[in-house]
Symmetry: C2
């Protein structure tokens, strides 16, 4: 099976579970909790959890669909809360929860999914000691995601963010949940500590690379392809690795604080390219994925390990 077929199958299964558990809500709060979940998504974190489980012990992912759902619920709760904070009006092609309902309901809708994540995880058919380690890891991860989001917001008021600070923020905000997803899969499958550490590290590095690639896509891809407002990071002077490197090289992007035409974005990309910035940033992401892939060498060779490697490569090859 190739990676995209695998990921599509997982997404379909997770979508089915979501409809079963969240699709019949009749009250406003549970409808609000279900809204973004039902809007689809690539379900990358469930995929990485299930592949990590099978890479450690073949066939173990069969029992771990509820754990896979738990990490998707965790991701979705953070999106609902982030959208309130960032005042975003659209996500996954649908209006955000606080736009469609209101902020209080959106806070509670996120809080409900937060609870359900722990509930689903605590009911996985796995040994109790493994489940407790998974619960504890998910809890620590949630606290780190909050720290990452807080760092990200604090960067908005600054123009002197360093590469190190950016990478710490992305590690916390995005890397830790990919890392925890992979590790939870391995833990629940009965993986050895070295195996759990390996997939955790793989998830962390690939998660950081995933976010860097997201920043590249924001500026490189045509809007019609991503469905997003192109180069919004440049317009908002977001402290991405691209912007940080541009500043360090004396490239001034401050004249682009308006909605940019594709011609203007192409001009920015040209400037960034000729300063070598696009290539440098791509290289950072590429190096991370390669380091992540190396950590997986301690796992036995298997189709699932191969799919995990492909997933890492896909994270930095994707164009939307």
């Amino acid at each position: 099976m190739d990676l995209h077929e695998y990921m599509n199958n997982v997404a379909r299964d997770i979508d089915l579970m979501i409809r079963r558990h969240f699709g019949d809500a009749t009250d406003e709060l549970n409808k609000a909790s279900a809204h973004l979940l039902l809007a689809g998504g690539k379900r990358l974190r469930p995929s990485i959890l299930l592949l990590s489980a099978d890479a450690v012990k073949k066939g173990s992912s069969y029992d771990l669909m509820h754990a896979a759902l738990a990490v998707e619920l965790t991701h979705t709760f953070t999106l609902i809360h982030d959208d309130i904070m960032d005042r975003d009006v659209e996500r996954r092609g649908v209006p955000t929860v606080h736009t469609l309902w209101n902020e209080p309901t959106a806070i509670l809708a996120g809080d409900v999914l937060y609870a359900r994540a722990f509930e689903f995880l605590s009911h996985a058919p796995a040994p109790d000691s493994a489940k407790l380690r998974a619960v504890s890891l998910l809890a620590r991860t949630c606290a780190q995601i909050c720290e990452g989001q807080h760092m990200d917001m604090s960067f908005e008021k600054r123009t002197d963010v360093t590469e190190g600070e950016y990478l710490e923020m992305v590690q916390k905000k995005t890397g830790t949940l990919f890392a925890a997803s992979a590790a939870i899969g391995a833990i629940l499958a009965g993986g050895k500590p070295t195996q759990v550490d390996a997939v955790h590290q793989f998830g962390l590095l690939c998660g950081i690379a995933f976010q860097i690639q997201d920043d590249l896509i924001d500026i490189m891809s045509r809007s019609e392809r991503t469905g997003k407002d192109r180069a919004s990071d440049i317009r908002k002077e977001k402290q991405t690795l691209i912007a940080i490197k541009a500043r360090e090289k004396g490239l001034d992007l401050s004249s682009y604080r308006h909605v940019l035409s594709d011609r203007e974005v192409d001009e920015v990309v040209r400037k960034l390219r000729s300063a070598g910035i696009i290539e440098e940033v791509q290289q950072v992401a590429q190096d991370m994925v390669e380091r992540g892939i190396k950590t997986l060498q301690i796992l036995p060779e298997s189709d699932e390990r191969a799919l995990l490697l492909s997933m890492g490569e896909f994270f930095v090859a994707r164009r939307h």
Copy 2:
């Protein structure tokens, strides 16, 4: 030891733990998370957890301080989020988190405590199977608290809330966490299912009674005693049991939608008393506590069981 001495000791121990774990925060997010925790509180939920543990198995509470802290963290996270939704500016004599920082930081500060609650609970020195049941119960409880808060907010737009709806809301918003606190204490102490059910029911009934008493205190106690703005529920036309019963008896309180002088509040109380409403509401709370106390009879006689009973009585006897 009498109840107040016991509760003061627990509050002191919990305060010490809070200072140890949260007192040294240097970054803004962790300072915001610690703010309301450090402002004190009666620590009722930790007390009920520890007493339930000892009532089931003497001496077991010694190991359960982290679990006791977990339910206090859960309570505090809900307060931080509720304060944002209700736009409250003060709590426990200090400015609310979103007032002192901002709403995004307050959402995240609550989310951090939410995570820490599960982290502390998953590390309690108790058998894994018991801890997992506790984690699962806490997760279900958090979802119910959210439902209760959402019901409470939805009542603001209505003037036809029934007694049954009010009691369901209070059960979810306040009762369930007292119930879960008691049950978690009993579960982690190795209590039998009947014992766990008994203290859960006790906590639930006393928690509901606690909230009804809170509503009575709002109107009965002088502001200098509670530190709260007196009769604010009447002014805001809040759908409390008092207001619902007043409406049912044709007592019109709609002329009191302004900040009331003590003389005006006394007039309202007189009207409510002569319609028999104050006494009826007190009786509802009293009956709940008595039913709760009866469920504890299956526990062996002990000092801790006696203290639990006193705690139930205290919930409806307190004047602030």
